[in-house]
């Protein structure tokens, strides 16, 4: 290092802020420094909310799509007006004759004032189902009741009544089964 360099170095190294000035700057810096508040986590919170929102939206959409698929299938089946292959007015009798069905086709949740006319096999969303013909005792309207086992997928169906192409379909679930009642006119039953 040259003589000039040494002088320059010494010159600058002799310069210093006063301790009071240092303290003042440090204090002001500390006051200005934001404490770790919720703002520090706001990007994480926003991301978490976004993910939760996305998951909920996806579930909601998936559930709506499932309901729509089930209702469309039931409305289509109902509009075919297929005859009952087994004619009976007794649920136990029908249960016995539909021997491939391993779930109860009768439930206390089935609307009153309806008389059983008979039934046949069918399917809902690829699952074996029973298709029951019911007649309203007062109006004479013939309705179709679908019963199937509540699979993990069908558990996501929500209770709902929807009218589509002049066919009103009412969906409801019991602990074991999914029920769907389709009729040309709105059903009188409420749940």
């Amino acid at each position: 290092m040259s003589n000039l360099d040494k002088h320059i170095k010494q010159h600058y190294q002799s310069k210093a802020l006063s301790q009071s000035k240092v303290d003042a700057i440090l204090t002001e810096g500390n006051e200005k420094r934001p404490t770790r508040s919720w703002r520090s986590f706001s990007p994480l919170v926003a991301a978490a909310l976004l993910i939760i929102g996305f998951v909920f939206f996806n579930n909601y959409q998936a559930q709506n799509l499932l309901n729509q698929r089930v209702i469309t299938e039931i409305a289509m089946n109902h509009s075919k007006q297929l005859d009952a292959e087994i004619t009976t007015s007794d649920y136990d009798d029908l249960q016995t004759k539909l021997n491939r069905v391993d779930f109860p086709i009768y439930s206390e949740t089935i609307p009153e004032n309806h008389q059983l006319l008979g039934g046949r096999y069918c399917s809902i969303q690829g699952e074996l189902a029973a298709q029951l013909k019911l007649k309203h005792k007062k109006t004479g309207d013939v309705k179709t009741l679908y019963v199937t086992r509540l699979t993990p997928t069908l558990k996501n169906v929500k209770n709902q009544t929807i009218t589509q192409n002049s066919i009103t379909t009412q969906l409801w679930k019991t602990s074991d089964c999914l029920f769907a009642l389709a009729s040309k006119t709105p059903t009188e039953t409420t749940y």
Binding site: D5, K9, Y12, L17, L26
Partner: protein, 162 residues
């Protein structure tokens, strides 16, 4: 609270760097103060001397030099030679202060970073977004000016030895 580096040391070295830029003590204090209030809330205890120097430089450019950026021509490295002052007299701090005042901020900054902080010319070039030749030019011209001013001051005070 654990700092990466001692904040007092960062402040003091920052002050000396600020002095190399603005030369005036009060201006350097203001510059360090402003830079600290900008850097500390951002980096906190992770603030290092290098980051603080960068902040000081940015604040300096913003506040003092926005419209006065000087453009220096590149400098041929081969023409750079060690410059030494030829005197038997000690250089006083006052003389050196006067001589440093005659340099422009680019020259003082380059000399400070090279001699006091020990950065290589390439490191200074990287830190200041200049070419290495330009940094060499600043150092060389600055030293030449210093020698010229210091020699004049010493000769004026000691005319018989001139």
């Amino acid at each position: 609270m654990t700092y990466t580096q001692d904040p007092q040391h960062i402040l003091q070295s920052g002050y000396r760097y600020a002095l190399s830029l603005v030369h005036q003590a009060l201006d350097a204090e203001d510059l360090v103060h402003d830079a600290w209030l900008k850097a500390y809330p951002k980096y906190g205890t992770k603030l290092t001397q290098s980051l603080f120097f960068t902040t000081i430089r940015n604040v300096y450019i913003d506040q003092y030099r926005r419209n006065q950026l000087a453009v220096f021509e590149a400098f041929d490295e081969e023409t750079y030679k060690e410059i030494e002052i030829d005197t038997k007299h000690d250089i006083s701090s006052e003389d050196l202060d006067q001589a440093l005042a005659k340099l422009n901020s680019n020259e003082r900054e380059a000399i400070f970073l090279n001699i006091v902080e020990g950065y290589s010319t390439q490191e200074i070039a990287d830190k200041t977004d200049r070419s290495r030749n330009t940094v060499l030019s600043h150092i060389h011209r600055g030293k030449r000016k210093l020698v010229h001013t210091l020699t004049a001051l010493i000769n004026r005070r000691n005319p018989l030895q001139g």
